[in-house]
Amino acid sequence: MLILKNVDIFYSRVHAVRRVSLHVNQGEIVALIGGNGAGKTTLLTTISGLLRSSGGSLHFDGQDITRLRPEHIVAAGISQVPERRLVFKPMSVEDNLLLGAYQRRGLKMRNQIQQEIRQVYEMFPVLGQRRKQSAGTLSGGEQQMLAIGRALMAKPRMLLLDEPGMGLAPALSQMIFRHVVELRDAFGLTVLLVEQNAKCALRIANRGYVMETGRIILQGSSEELQLNRDVQRAYLGREVEQQ
């Protein structure tokens, strides 16, 4: 569904991503794991078109999206949930969700969009309870749900999730991860998930890629990666536990 070939990205003058090739198949959850500054977020931001690659190609569903503008990439079916759940804090929950459907605005869409907002509330009932509240008053977990809900309002076929568990209590972040699986199972959404918390990410992902200093050093099924000693030591904290 999504195919990246030899993607090079410069972030200001830093060569942040080097010759990265990866693919995500329809209906898969793929985890992109790695430490801070490995280039994961840069890569994700490039897929959604906010950054430009300086080399290589990106294809989505057979369409070349390498040079597409962000709004056209959203229209093609890719939605990003940004890191630190950037919601519009002064705006109400419902307005945040409406903004997510910005691209599909129009008179005839109103009923359709209201229907979809109801679906988001069904999935995250707490958002429904707080629909009039300003987003800034929500807890971290609720803001994350709102950020996901807002991304869903664009009717994406693929979701790019950037560190959905960051800064959340373990129980909360696990709930968010459960929702990600639900989204895949219920709506057939394809997910590319960037996480520093490799343990959680590999638990729900089908496959994974490990990035280090801008390069992919390992790839494989989640099972294989969980077995890999390098991954265990660097990202799963397994040996620390054993000692």
Partner: protein, 431 residues
């Protein structure tokens, strides 16, 4: 049956993407963790990251068995020894020791790949697999053993001694599958004859053979004598062991597990890639090996790749049975000739492999090739039949090899007199 249908039948486009991703990750790991490759890339001025497509692979340096020996035991490992859970060594090569390591992840992958080979050869969960490869340092027995277990079949780890007892075990345990080298299968058949075993009560159905060069004729003999379906499979210990490639029931070449190994065919003399479909030396790059990744390893085995789609539904490219070793290759009048290929042509032409000898010499700067064939193929008094045999052989050789041989029918003793070594070549040229 396919063990991993979603992988074995994936489209070529998906496969090439996967190969590129895996190759790039492998190159990153070897250039970080294996000083040998790091140095080699530097010397040749190669940036392993400057890698656009799979077609660029032939810019990378080749790895030879000598490189493994020079860096023995652990110099080419890409992980520290504490992450290695298994060490094996190669069969067959006596010059110096080489050691092959596997991580836990490598062993798991290896098991799945040999499971694919077994499933392609007809084996399923209900089968009882009699593994008559020698258990020990060589990779054949353990590879097939793990594959059979992973597939869910029952393994009888007999190893390769005491052949009469083996026959008893096959009968008693109702083994349905035989895994061994082809010559051992023939030996088993001989012993069954001696013991008076009734072929029609043999439980065997499938035979998976690998580990040595064999011919189509031998396959027919084994299938006929043991009443089984015999498939060929291919392994290289330096790369992994068995599980690199295996035949499906079509028996038209071995499917290479290309999602784990990248295959190329090169000219063993010029080391340049050969056009698709030509016979040359098989070069393999591991795409997922953790402990001992190999970049463009020269297997020394001669084969050709078959790109036509296979009726079984697997999309993985096939390789022909091994034609021989590149070390044995002759160059006659500038044409690469593999002695084993000549034997195969004789079988194809005459449905039998007579004893034969290739004699090459040089007259006035020109190479001359002669093929001496044991005369008992044709009755000695039938001049016409003899002439026909000679003409047909010469035509077929010219057609297949593009080289004119002088073909002579001789007594067996003449061949024995002329033969200087174990192989069927006498090269009298002075270089």
């Amino acid at each position: 049956m396919m063990f991993e249908p979603e992988l074995e039948g994936m489209s070529r486009l998906e496969l090439e993407q996967l190969q590129l991703e895996r190759l790039q990750a492998t190159l990153t790991r070897v250039s970080r963790n294996v000083p040998f490759y790091c140095k080699k890339f530097e010397e040749l001025g190669i940036d392993p990251y400057d890698f656009q497509s799979l077609a660029d692979v032939h810019h990378l340096p080749l790895t030879t068995r000598q490189d493994l020996r020079d860096n023995a035991p652990y110099g080419l490992f890409a992980v520290p020894l504490r992450e290695v859970v298994r060490l094996q060594t190669s069969s067959g090569f006596s010059e110096g020791t080489t050691v092959f390591g596997y991580t836990l992840g490598d062993i798991r992958k290896w098991s799945r790949l040999t499971a694919r080979v077994l499933a392609a050869g007809g084996v399923g969960r209900e089968d009882v697999v009699h593994v008559a490869h020698g258990y020990g340092l060589s990779t054949m027995a353990f590879g097939m053993h793990y594959g059979a277990e992973t597939l869910g079949a029952a393994v009888v780890p007999v190893s390769n001694g005491n052949v009469r007892r083996q026959v008893g075990i096959i009968l008693d345990y109702r083994a349905t599958t035989l895994s061994c080298i082809p010559s051992y299968a023939l030996y088993l058949a001989d012993v069954m004859d001696e013991m008076g075993v009734n072929r029609n009560v043999l439980p065997l159905r499938w035979g998976l053979f690998g580990g040595e060069v064999w011919s189509e004729g031998t396959r027919e003999t084994i299938q006929e004598r043991l009443k089984i379906v015999a498939t060929d499979n291919y392994g290289v210990s330096e790369i992994m062991g068995p599980g690199v490639a295996g035949e499906c029931l079509e028996r038209q070449g071995m499917h290479i597990n290309e999602d784990h190994f990248l295959a190329e065919i090169i000219d063993p003399m010029t080391l340049k890639p050969l056009p698709p479909g030509e016979i040359g030396e098989l070069v393999l790059t591991t795409l997922t090996k953790e402990a001992l990744p190999m970049i463009r390893f020269r297997t020394g085995d001669l084969t050709r790749l078959l790109f036509e789609p296979c009726a079984c539904g697997r999309t993985m490219v096939r390789m022909e049975r091994i034609h021989g070793r590149s070390d044995d290759m002759l160059i006659i009048q500038g044409v690469n000739v593999f002695p084993e290929r000549i034997g195969a042509i004789l079988v194809e032409t005459h449905k039998a492999e007579p004893d034969h000898l290739i004699v090459v010499d040089r007259h006035g700067g020109l190479d001359r090739a002669m093929l001496l064939v044991e005369a008992n193929m044709v009755a000695p008094d039938q001049i016409k039949a003899q002439q026909k045999f000679i003409d047909l052989t010469r035509q077929r050789l010219a057609m297949e090899l593009g080289l004119v041989f002088e073909v002579k029918l001789v007594e067996r003793s003449t061949i024995a007199e002329l033969q200087t070594g174990p192989n069927r070549v006498v090269d009298r040229r002075k270089f």
